[in-house]
């Protein structure tokens, strides 16, 4: 009884339960025919949300007001530039990945530099940054759609033991993020900063250094996701990051990470990402359009934060 209670006390369990229910609801309609395909697609597309969601989660953990709106622009730029550099040559795959990561590092440092130097809220700093990054991406793209190297394209679109390679990559990244969050000093530090930035400072935590690393980490994950997504979809498109702006925040919030900061949750991001994709498929199966899907998404986010509440008053 106590065990069961403990399991249900974990906020991430709810997103998984919801995902499973929606999966069944969808499969029921198709009479079980599309079960395998649906699961496969869900894992693939959820994986992209997970990768950007992980970065956004680290940033949101830093506490109220911390959010990175430059995620979509970073994805687009990294995807565009990496494909351009690789120029369909298999030998350049690693170089492409490296350039994507370097771009991520540069954007992350730029974001925090704006926050710190201009003393403006992260939301505006990352927004201004995203304008510039997006323009750079438009300029770099020049309307040409360059194909990814064949090896990379087939890697991102194929599976290993029935599990999409992309999902495997996302799982590995999640495990790394989990270790970072739960086992390292850095993980303790971001959680402490999110709970009380002043108390964190007064226990000797280098607050600025930690926040800089976190914003950089978020941008790097977005860049890697952009690199993979561009390869997966056969080329970079200028609007390829657009839907991940809200998605990256939504999966974090629905996954049980505290909006007020300090308490993050990696399994929940998986549950929420699967859930978000499956809701879309379910509503499509039932013949509902994009409108109902959006409304439901919004209501789910609202319900989750209303249930979780704001910062608990501590006295």
């Amino acid at each position: 009884m106590n065990r069961l209670h403990l399991v249900f006390a974990r906020p991430w369990i709810w997103s998984f339960i919801a995902a499973v229910i929606v999966w069944f609801a969808t499969v029921l309609v198709t009479g079980g025919a599309g079960a395998l395909g649906l699961s496969h697609a869900a894992l693939t597309f959820a994986a992209f949300s997970v990768i950007v969601g992980l970065g956004q989660m680290f940033v949101i953990t830093l506490g109220p007001g911390n959010i990175d709106l430059s995620v979509p622009a970073t994805m687009t730029l990294a995807g565009t530039v990496a494909l351009k550099l690789m120029d369909v040559q298999d030998g350049m795959i690693i170089a492409g990945l490296v350039i994507a990561i370097l771009l991520g590092i540069a954007i992350g440092i730029g974001n925090y530099a704006l926050i710190k130097l201009l003393r403006i809220p992260p939301i505006i700093a990352t927004l201004s940054m995203s304008f510039i990054v997006q323009s750079t991406a438009i300029w770099a793209n020049r309307g040409l759609r360059i194909k990814p190297p064949d090896m990379l394209a087939s890697f991102t679109t194929s599976s290993f033991l029935g599990i999409p390679n992309i999902a495997i990559v996302a799982v590995l990244l999640s495990l790394a993020a989990w270790v970072l969050l739960e086992r390292t000093i850095y993980g303790r530090w971001i959680s402490a900063i999110g709970q009380s930035i002043f108390a964190a400072r007064m226990t000797g935590i280098p607050v600025d250094g930690t926040r800089l690393v976190t914003y950089t980490l978020c941008a790097v994950l977005a860049a890697v996701c952009g690199y993979l997504l561009a390869s997966f979809s056969g080329g970079a498109a200028l609007n390829m990051g657009a839907e991940y702006l809200l998605m990256s925040i939504a999966v974090v919030v629905i996954g049980g990470t505290a909006v007020a900061g300090g308490d993050s949750n990696i399994p929940g991001i998986w549950g929420a990402s699967l859930f978000m994709f499956l809701v879309v498929s379910m509503l499509n199966t039932y013949g509902f359009g994009a409108g109902v899907r959006l409304i439901l998404t919004g209501l789910i986010i609202l319900a989750v934060i209303l249930a979780a509440g704001g910062r608990k008053v501590v006295r």
């Binding site: 270790v179 390292t184 959680s191 402490a192 108390a199 007064m202 250094g209 800089l212 308490d263 501590v314």
Partner: protein, 482 residues
Amino acid sequence: MADAMSAQTIVAARGIKIQFGAVKALDGADLEIRQGECIGLVGHNGAGKSTIVNVINGGLTPHAGDLVYGSGQGHGIALARQNGVRCVFQELSLCSNLTVGENARIMNRNLGGWNWRRRALALVRNKLDEIFPGHGIDCGSTVGDLSIAQRQMVEIAISFTDAETPARLVILDEPTSSLDSGLAAQLMAYVRRFAAGGGAVLLISHILGEILSTSNRIVVMKDGKVVADRPTSAFTTRSLVETMGSVVKDRQRSTRQHTGERRLSLPARKGEGLAFEAFGGEIVGFAGLGGHGQTQALLDLYLSENGNWLPNRSPVAFVAGDRGLNGIFPLWSILRNLSIASLGALSKRTLVDDGREAELGEYWKKKIEIRTPDTGNFILSLSGGNQQKVLFARALATSASIVLMDDPMRGVDVGTKQEVYEILRSEAASGRTFVWYSTEMDEIELCDRVYVFRDGVIVAELAGDEITEEKVLASSFAGGEH
């Protein structure tokens, strides 16, 4: 009850008791304020001055005792305001983004209607002219553009205006803290005129000269009780300071001389007063009335030693006073709260070693007796005193040779205090330096050396047998030295 109240009584508080956790903030305090009176309220830290003020202005509900206003018995902010009770708080409570006139509008609920702007302006301008003739404040300007002194003047003027209900009792809590002597004199003159005209003022100030020259009755508080309530003529500075202090107790003075080298120093604050230094194995006290720059001095000491960008190897640890605000991490377990400052020593290649962390938790749980079955429990499951012990353990568990303490024992029960004092003594004996800001005299008396703060500056240094309540009080209050 009502017959005991004379017609001129504005508010009468009888036998008020208020308790915060284990601390009795008010223990049966009596205070009656009549029209035409200016009452000086004095007392040391924790005597209950601000608590009784908050009871009278409706902010706090008494746990026992009667509170009777002119209009009848009861309590609450609305009732207090109806009876013309106004309060100027020690922290500035104006909206700095609004103009002086607009702030007057917010404070006066029924100033609305057509052309309120002109009326609000006239109201506050006339009052400013009345209190501070020649003030030179432009009432159309934004409060944020004014100097601190001007803001304080505006706030005082607004609380003396009568738009809604006439101001009958104005509580001034350290009203002259940022006014120069000329402005302070103007204010005191106005306070006397206001009282002579039938109003009442409750004046709290650390400048005894102001109290003695302005008030016609002085109330001295100590340990949540009123210990003296006599006409001003019955007091001198010397007798006031004596009345605030307690009976001299016998105590063992640590005659220890510091042995270690100089560990920490700070030049004279604001270029005035004395410089600060601390040596190895010493307990240095920061005394003085609360809010006179002690916390800021500790923060400056701490932040100058701890960087914000790279991992720190600092020899200084900090124990917070306001647990909820800047001490504990509320989402974490006891163990995590305890170990956060010493993770560097507990980890290999930045990976935290669980086993060693748990060991550390067990060691400190035993050593300072944190009352919990399991350090894995949430920090909020502990009582306030035990939370404070965890914060102590957090600092002591580090290798830091200097521990700064920001009045950490406020609101902690006596038993816990004694335990912590014991640990402090043994840690100091083994060579650690403690810098201890405390608002409690008992704790100041435990120190080897004490710096007394007033108006953000160190005004006195006491050592050994000089550390007495009388000496600390005399230095805390301006004009109390002779």
